[in-house]
Symmetry: C2
Subunit: 407 residues, 2 copies
């Protein structure tokens, strides 16, 4: 076993301060005595910490409570305007941005089309401008911004925030974090989109007792991420969760990654579209042919789902096969990682409950020791800002972990 | 984020004491000043802790050092006879037992055939007797024994040490830990064999900087385990690492688990043997036919490897296919978990380097982002006591983590 991290007096004080701050965020409005009881601290300790937070204008008074008789305790809450942090989701063709206040509340969000991601440097400059302008529009002093978490699809180098490869963008070796940082007056942290999404989806307010969440992101591509407790497990090199490149059909098609029969090559939004195109071009006897106006090039995954939901045989075959492979791949991940929650997110499962149910059946068919698990499989909250929110959460969690909040 | 564990003064003292004790184990013989420097503690703090360890007879003096001039510092080391802990590996047909002293040194080991594991209660009674007798033979006072870690193949309920199912033993719902504990004068802890093996194989003395080890156990069955840092990650329910039941061939044979085409059904020692039997029975034109004296029932996996190593075509085909599937399954685990070390252990890779090289090729063929990984794939130390040693290590690590050592 490695040595334990040495503890000292100042760490005790810091841990107490962070716990009081967190208690104000999570359980406020709250009074000093209640914080002391909840955090198992003495009242003088809590009083000293709260005094300090008052001095730094991080906490504010809501006046005396009105219940009961006798002297009423002062009710405290986080000063919401004291600092802010940002999350941005650089998606294919669209950027989504959220701004949160110190208490974790979302105060603004926006989305805007971004167009082609080339040349990369210009595209990134445009993204930066959108973020800076959005903050300005809300009259937030840049000095009050702690920083921004940025979600980007693809393999991201953990230490540098460099995009190693982003197949959906056609990017390779792009120093995204460095370029965004230049000219941004607060810290910027780049993270993989699915990892950001997972951090958001695994967060259930008030629930601390989930051991491990496995989050799957089904969209144009397929990704996944592992959360243990509320912490992202991103592997030795930051590139865990590559569920989309698990080989599920050795006789399958060539995948963009260069291998054969990866999950992504048979079950992603792109693969579903491609399979529909082939059917329309060769046979043409499907509802899908109508939906795309007879032109196979116009079909998209949503039309395939619409046709399947309406009972079209060829479309159902595509959807059922994709769901079976996704379920099988998830079963492998569950066999290996043994999570107690699997959350399925992404555009593909916004097409009605049928696909989710088929994925569940596929997973159960291939899973070992089914009856010995307390596994909850559910669809994610999965709104269009989930990834941006997750990116902001990744950023603020990093400050928490590094004890780098200005408190 | 959940609240941080509250820190207090006594935890500082305890952490310091455990670090000094660990420093004596890992870096002893060593003097007080060197401990203080290594652990970043004051000399009076180290002196007080060492005095206490002297009083408890946990540390002993080796006299004054002889180097240099002037006053020589006293050299200290762990008193090896002060306490002991046990590891046992309940394998198919054989039990292996090791005894370690306080400094982690192995002082004795033994193995003995155990015969059929029925009736379960009697078998477990026999195992208990063997452990108690072995300790007695070495004249170790039971009061000096901290406890025993027991490795058992199969699904083990983490909280109770109950065998949920052990297909190789034909056991189901056997309260192994409770039955062993009855009549044993020290604590007993039951853990899955592959997890115990992994804890041993991931331990590299002096190396703390491995992020995540994925350990694969290829034998009669196939298992795996994940170690992050030096800690076992055993999932939400204690049953992570079921690599053997990842589906690699949807058109494959029925697996013992009830599913179709699991890795174990096409690439385990048992599957290799079964495939060889079929070839011998149907064709008979292989070196394997000679090796088993023409009787397919006599063939075992070792003979298949012997034939393959001698260039026999049908045997090579079996071995190559098994290696390809194992490599493919490992690539999936690596895609999902992103470890920086993969260690392959177990009986199957004791049959020469060819199989290992084929597995490596199979893994590389199916892995995504090969060039962005710093992945080391190696064969384990993998001696016949590795699992028993791992079981002892699991036990002592638990005491460390719970701060339950008598120091």
């Amino acid at each position: 076993m490695p040595y334990d991290k040495k503890l000292n007096q100042s760490q005790i004080a810091q841990t107490n301060k962070y716990n009081v701050f967190r208690c104000l965020i999570r359980e406020g409005p709250i009074n000093r005595a209640a914080i002391a009881k909840r955090m198992d601290l003495s009242i003088p300790t809590v009083m000293a910490i709260v005094d300090d937070l008052f001095k730094k204008k991080i906490v504010r008074s809501m006046g005396k409570g009105e219940f009961g008789v006798g002297k009423q305790p002062e009710i405290l809450e986080i000063e919401p305007g004291r600092f802010f942090y940002i999350g941005a989701d650089i998606g294919r063709g669209t950027i989504r941005i959220v701004v949160n206040n110190a208490a974790g509340g979302q105060i603004a969000c926006m989305q805007e089309p971004t167009g082609d991601p080339f040349p990369e440097r210009e595209f990134i400059g445009h993204v930066q401008k959108l973020i800076l302008q959005f903050v300005e529009q809300h009259h937030i002093d840049a000095a009050c911004i702690l920083g921004a978490g940025i979600a980007m699809p693809g393999l991201i180098e953990r230490e540098t925030g460099k995009v190693i490869i982003a197949p959906d963008f056609g990017w390779k070796d792009i120093p995204l974090q460095d370029w965004l940082q230049e000219g941004t007056p607060y810290p910027v942290l780049v993270k993989n989109s699915t990892q950001a999404l997972a951090v958001n989806e695994s967060y259930i307010p008030g629930v601390d007792d989930v051991h491990t969440t496995f989050c799957v992101n089904l969209g144009y591509g397929i990704g996944a991420a592992i959360i243990t407790g509320e912490e992202l497990y991103d592997g030795a090199g930051g590139i865990s969760g590559e569920l989309g490149h698990c080989v599920v059909d050795r006789d399958g098609p060539l995948c963009k990654c260069g291998n054969i029969g990866c999950l992504e090559s048979v079950a992603s939004g792109e693969a579903i579209t491609r399979q529909a195109q082939t059917i329309i071009a060769h046979h043409g006897s499907s509802m899908m042919t109508e939906l795309c106006g007879g032109n196979a090039a116009n079909i998209d995954a949503r039309m395939v789902f619409d046709a399947a939901n309406a009972g079209d045989g060829p479309a159902l075959k595509i959807i059922n096969t994709a769901a079976m492979y996704i379920g099988m791949a998830i079963s492998m991940a569950v066999n290996i990682v043994d999570p107690d929650r699997v959350v399925i997110c992404g555009g593909l499962i916004r097409n009605g409950p049928y696909f989710f149910e088929q994925i569940k059946a596929g997973m159960e068919e291939h899973l070992v020791a089914k009856s010995n698990r307390t596994l909850i499989l559910s669809a994610g909250v999965n709104d269009e800002y989930s990834t941006a929110k997750g990116a902001s959460r990744v950023f603020i969690n990093t400050l928490w972990a590094q004890r780098a909040l200005p408190i």
